[in-house]
């Protein structure tokens, strides 16, 4: 009896999720009247705006990931090693981007770093790109920090450091060649999640007027019928891919750390 209800709950729930996915996929294949085709996808992929904005967002994602790693890994490591009392505060701070909506943060950026301020980032396209990157890094911070912190928890940071130091390694060496490889899986998880976030992000890019993928999708949605569905499918596949890669990488770590 219990099983029946359980199956019912699960199936009805999944129906709700499956329907839109089928809907968007079907719609994306309906561009050519009367038959299913990939016309919408062809149009999208050959659209130069798609290529520009998509590559822009991919670039931004990569830069954000690199910045995130360079910022978070040493910080999480340092806090764990030397300043454990600070951990609750840092954790609280890394959760703030989940509390403060992205729109408020970017509003703050515009007001704080416009052309009449002490750091006129929005004055140039490049400056705005930098600002946007910092914005993305802020949005991804909770996920990146939590992933890295979890990864560091599983390795004995203090002992590894002491061992490395006794062998003469300096801080950069320790971080780059000892800590990073051991938390690589956690870092990759954070990286893939960051990628998914950046690719789909809309609010910050739109309000900072940068040619990112999110605003492009919204623009297309306002003007076209079938291409947006194709874009939605592409976006979903990318998100799924990112999370699938995280799973893959985590499974690899589980098997690597199994005792021989």
């Amino acid at each position: 009896m219990k099983k029946l209800f359980a199956w019912l709950a699960l199936v009805i729930g999944l129906l709700y999720f499956v329907l839109p996915l089928i809907g968007m996929t079907r719609f994306s294949l309906m561009m050519r009247r009367g038959e299913l085709s990939f016309d919408a996808y062809v149009k999208v992929f050959s659209d130069p705006r798609f290529q520009n904005t998509f590559s822009y967002s991919v670039m931004m994602a990569i830069v954000t990931i690199i910045f995130g790693i360079v910022l978070v890994v040493p910080t999480a490591y340092w806090v764990r090693l030397k300043l454990p009392g600070l951990r609750p505060y840092i954790e609280f701070v890394t959760l703030l981007p989940l509390v403060i909506p992205a729109i408020v943060i970017v509003f703050g950026y515009i007001r704080l770093y416009n052309t009449s301020s002490w750091l006129p980032l929005t004055g140039t396209a490049f400056g705005t790109d930098i600002l946007l990157m910092f914005g993305y890094a802020t949005l991804a911070l909770p996920y990146m920090y939590r992933a890295v912190d979890t990864g560091l928890r599983t390795i004995d940071v203090a002992t590894l450091t002491e061992a490395a130091q006794s062998l003469g390694a300096g801080w950069t060496t320790i971080l780059a060649r000892i800590i990073l490889p051991n938390v690589l899986v956690a870092v990759l998880s954070g990286a893939f999640l960051t990628f998914a976030i950046v690719i789909g992000e809309f609010t910050m890019a739109a309000l900072l007027n940068r040619p990112a993928f999110g605003p492009f999708m919204q623009l297309l949605g306002a003007n076209r019928a079938y291409e947006p569905a194709a874009l939605a499918v592409i976006a979903f596949v990318i998100t799924w891919g990112c999370l699938g890669l995280i799973q893959l990488v985590s499974r690899f770590q589980k098997s690597a750390s199994r005792p021989t």
Partner: protein
Amino acid sequence: MSSAVSGTKAQSGAGFRLPLHWLGVVPFAAFILLFLILPTMRIVVGAFQNPDGSFTLENIWGLFTPSILAAYWISIRISVASALIGCLVGFAMAAAVVLGGLPKWIRSPLMTFSGVASNFAGVPLAFAFLATLGPVGLLNVLLRSNFGFDLRMLGFNLLSFWGLTITYLFFQIPLMILIITPAIDGLKREWREAAEILGASGFQYWRYVAFPILLPSILGTFALLFANAFGAVATAIALTGSSLSIVPILLFAQIRGDVLGNPHLGYALAFGMIVVTGVANTLYIWLRARSERWLK
């Protein structure tokens, strides 16, 4: 600020602690300060400032106009609705998988899918629902061809309160599943057995033991889901253009071009958002801490 603190630290310690320790977190602190704290403070402070910089409560009072209050009200309603339904459905699905006696292999794919779905928000999500519940969407086509009616005839419009709520559920439900599954896992088998051997029926166990234990987590996640929906803007814009006047859309329009006629009103609007999401998240953290204290 940090050097003063580090100075005291060095003196209060055994004397061996060099202030250099604190240098390690300087980059992080600088980043947080410049790109999270200061921008937010700018908004908060700006909400209480006149164009000339003097302190005022005018902007806050300015929020209490019918149109802005209506925006807050509809935002709250959408957030409550999507959070409530998200909690109920998410809990049902999580309970089904953890406690329902379903095959073990179902759990992992469900968790993965929940992870994907909870991140599939924003513009693409709107498109997916347009393609499903919109006028020529999948569901309407199916209903029309098989039953001769469609959702529009029932009065349903995707570009409305319920349309947005149903769309939001796509990431609300998975978020609930992701957060509540560990909590349901935490229900120790011994509690159920102890209740049973003391004579309790399944219903009594749930009513007196399991549900009260889960309640803080459920309530906390409700608060989180509420905050999540309240701050969402991309999906709403992609779905409704700017037609549905929820607070984030209002703020968006205000930032783009001063539609409200008073730039500092934008600050107030944003401040109002921070207050709402801040309160909701504080509730979430407090409730979660309470449940963790019980369960040690």
